[in-house]
Symmetry: none
Subunit: 244 residues, 2 copies
């Protein structure tokens, strides 16, 4: 019989096992960059056959959460936060190089989110969320304005932090301050016409085209953790993505 079985026992063993491993990673028990117990050790710990362990590990490898290395071990993939910006925000310069934008938190409050955001974050009716506004300077004359909503229950700690104490990269900062790890995201890009306020903020003429990027970022367990809306001038904008 397997030990430490919290997950749903109706599920296949290998799935319960991978769920539990994922939980350990999400909880920070198995840290990114470190090796998890060897396969033979996992069979011992959980009292299952090697084939079952391998199938469980396989699913997490396929999800890009673990990484096997023949003869060395199986490792938790490091969320490469130096690159996390480029993983999710694929702006590139005409040369193809990736800029390192500076950012600044403009405001930080507790707000009732718009209905669309509330649904995206799976919040209850009337539930307030941590709301940040942020400015990202790509180049001296090119900037993005961001609105960010975060579930209060997980991110309340941010409310006690002064805006100028926020780190440049938010995802590592979320992990550090709130223990929340971003694992994936879905972005939707649309083009708008700048209204007067937006034009003023972005330093362009009203009516000029604006790029709007909506991002919903998820944790390892696919819980929505962040809703972000970024706007910037469309002129000179480049968005690059590799498809497989």
């Amino acid at each position: 019989m397997p030990a430490r079985m919290r997950p749903d026992e109706r599920l296949p063993l290998y799935q319960q096992l991978s769920d539990e491993m994922l939980a350990r990673i999400a909880a920070g028990e198995w840290l990114p960059g470190t090796a998890i117990p060897s396969e033979t050790e996992l069979t011992r710990i959980h009292g299952v056959a090697i084939g079952t362990v391998r199938k469980a590990v396989d699913t997490l490898v396929k999800q890009g959460i673990l990484e096997r290395s023949h003869g060395r071990g199986t490792f938790v993939r490091r969320p490469q936060f130096s690159e996390s910006f480029f993983r999710f925000f694929r702006q590139v310069n005409p040369s193809g190089s990736q800029p390192v934008p500076q950012s600044r938190i403009l405001s930080r409050s507790l707000e009732l989110p718009p209905e669309g955001v509330r649904q995206a974050l799976a919040l209850e009716q009337g539930e307030a969320a941590v709301y940040l506004t942020r400015e990202r300077i790509i180049q001296p004359d090119r900037l993005f304005r961001e609105q960010i909503w975060l579930p209060r229950a997980r991110f309340f700690a941010l409310l006690d932090i002064e805006p100028n104490m926020f780190a440049n990269m938010l995802y590592p900062f979320y992990e550090e301050q709130c223990g929340q790890l971003i694992a994936s995201a879905r972005e939707t890009l649309t083009i708008e016409s700048a209204d007067v306020d937006t034009a003023d903020i972005l330093g362009i003429a009203p009516g000029q085209p604006v790029v709007a990027i909506e991002r919903i970022a998820l944790g390892y367990d696919s819980t929505p953790l962040e809703y972000r809306l970024s706007r910037g001038a469309a002129e000179g904008f480049r968005y690059q993505i590799d498809l497989r």
Copy 2:
């Protein structure tokens, strides 16, 4: 010892097995929509263990070539060309659903590509390329105009095909006519202002914002196989992508 072993014997058994199964499908020996031999039968035929058969079948299932049905059997999937489109062209409607655009080849010729295209396709100086122009109707009043360059050496067969005989989906068509398989792609999205010609083609006013999507599609060996430039009106455009 396994029977009928034509594939490279240095490869793992399960890979040799899946290669051979794929060969039978490609040869029309196992037809789309029909069931392949059962797993126990495959163990008997090839003289391998059930786990090895399952692993071989798994790889073809993952590739979308086979489809399991619990209690019924494993079937050769009908080529579902609708999916290959959505792998690479991620336009979505406001509802989030994915449109099925119709397309039409407008021209087909042999041309000297612009320098940028030449480099992207790794062609020699002065080397001509197959050049297609294509119209894609997303909705009655929304269309994209595409320019496509293809290396002559691999795609010359297209020059003998009448424009109205091209399939709606190009990638399966490339495979069928030229034996060229697209494995991945890189897209870069930018915003332009419509010049007079483009505005006329797209049915918008000059100066209105236009989305330009440049795609370089690669084969399984990372050889650049296609350069494509698509333009459409920015208004109402949505581009969605899942990031990991």
